[in-house]
Amino acid sequence: MPTPILSVDALNKTYDGGFVALDNVSLEIMEGEILALLGPNGAGKTTLISAICGIVQPTSGRVTVGGFDTQSQYRGARDLIGLVPQEINLEPFEKVINTVRFSRGLFGKPRDDAKIEQILRQLSLWDKKDNAIRELSGGMKRRVLIAKALSHEPRVLFLDEPTAGVDVELRRDMWEIVRALSDSGVTIILTTHYIEEAEAMADRVGVINKGQILLVEEKAALMARMGQKELRIDLNKKIDAIPEELADRDVELSDDGQRLIYRYDTRAERTGIVRLLSALQAAGLSVADVETKQSSLEEIFVGLLQDQEEGVAP
């Protein structure tokens, strides 16, 4: 059983105006994994990261990183953390290499030009090292933020919406960077509201909404557990209406009359597929093709948020 490198216990944050940004959040993150925190805008993702990293003062609760309490042993905890913020917050007139050196020093590490070179090369920034930051493109600036966060060799890296407002090519680029970092042993927590991103990158997915963690699960398990499947049956002959034999089978007929669609739950004891197929035979329908489709994380996610609205436990 791997030990958690980061542990969040009953964390609450209520802002001065009374807005509850975090509502009793508990979470454990294992060393080396990629966790995607998924949630709509304003769900509390950034507040959670900020409270862990020391930017926001939690109202109550406890966070430990590598066993260090982020309040009482903040030096030990923060040594282990690198943070890539959502906004491109960089000093525009400073040179790339100086700003990365600054970050390393700020985190208490002695100057190490070889290490800085390695990080800048890893992020394809070495050619730009003497450029002022304002001369860089948006994608390059994001890389500089990552380089700054990596400069003190953290074991846990937070990426807050790393691909927000980034074009498709750059996004894939960013994913590759994150995978490479993960391969080098860094634990990664990324927030996103792109389901596609969580699906492509994460080992585990946490869903957060209205300051509450709705669930945290292995991505594959989540999709299997929550996933509804769709069985699509293409018919040899067009039909006008669903035959009587299938009336109680909960199937839909496509608009063109050529396809029957049946949704079932993989978790259910009986999926009803066998009975459906017998009923098809009884109705005398001849099947041309059969196809199944797993519902995407997006559909699961939307379903979870709807359940929360309606007060249903996931």
């Binding site: 990293c53 003062q57 917050n89 400073e94 208490g108």
Partner: protein, 253 residues
């Protein structure tokens, strides 16, 4: 103690000073030279000696104080306000550095810059007036303490300010009048008695008086009061900054 953090902030801030050398160093020197020409040479030549010192020389300590005070406040307040303004403060807040270390980095850099400016103005003064410094060690001590304490004060203003207007507000509305009325260009003994009493509530009087004593051996108030005033002010600023970082006032939500 994260001394690397202090060093990193200091080096980063000093790099900014040298990157903007014209506005950092040249402009205060130029404006002070203009003061010398107008007050010292043009008007001063028509004024008798003040307390046995030629007027041109008499205003040198006050002029240095005026510039060092405003520069210390401006440098330190901008130093910490700028990261707030452009958002890079997230890095300071998430770093394994205490308030003492962060403050030390910014304040030492701001104080170094105003100390340099103070010395440059002093050197410039020698071109305009005949000047002697009776107590050079005390002169440097006062200069260093003033640079440090007003950089601390500037740091507080930088944290307090929520926009550029507020950043300018206190230096403009409070500090400049206090310096002008603090005996920078005259001895408070030249004032009517009632105003002399009022002047004693102006902290800058104590700074200018002590600093001028180190040049000419004459003071408006006893030296010990000047030392107490500047140490007291420094202490109050440090306590305020400690409270700010403890509570996160205006920096941590």
């Amino acid at each position: 103690m994260n001394l690397q953090a202090v060093r990193a902030i200091y080096v980063f801030e000093m790099a900014r000073t040298f990157r903007t050398i014209a506005q950092s160093i040249i402009s205060p020197v130029l404006s002070t030279s203009l003061y010398f020409i107008v007050f010292g040479t043009a008007i001063g030549s028509r004024i008798d000696q003040v307390e046995g010192v030629s007027y041109g020389a008499f205003i040198v300590p006050g002029l240095i104080m005026l510039t060092v005070l405003t520069q210390s406040i401006a440098n330190a307040s901008f130093g910490i306000y700028f990261p707030k303004f452009i958002g890079t403060i997230y890095e300071l807040l998430s770093a394994p550095a205490s308030f003492l270390e962060i403050t030390a980095g910014y304040v030492l850099a701001a104080a170094t810059k105003s100390f340099m400016i103070g010395l440059i103005i002093l050197v410039t003064a020698f071109f305009f007036v005949d000047l002697q410094i009776l107590h050079p060690i005390w002169m440097l001590t006062f200069l260093v303490l003033t640079c440090l304490s007003f950089s601390l004060f500037g740091f507080i203003i930088g944290i307090w300010a929520q926009n550029f207007e507020q950043l300018q507000l206190i230096p403009l509305l409070a500090v400049t009048p206090l310096v002008f009325l603090g005996g920078a260009f005259y001895s408070i003994t030249m004032l009517p008695e009632g105003w002399q009493a009022v002047s004693l509530f102006n902290p800058v009087v104590y700074l200018v008086s002590g600093f001028r004593w180190s040049f000419f051996g004459q003071a408006d108030v006893a030296l010990v009061w000047s030392i107490i005033a500047i140490l007291g002010f420094t202490g109050a600023c440090i306590l305020t900054i400690g409270w700010i970082f403890k509570t996160g006032w205006r920096i941590r939500a």
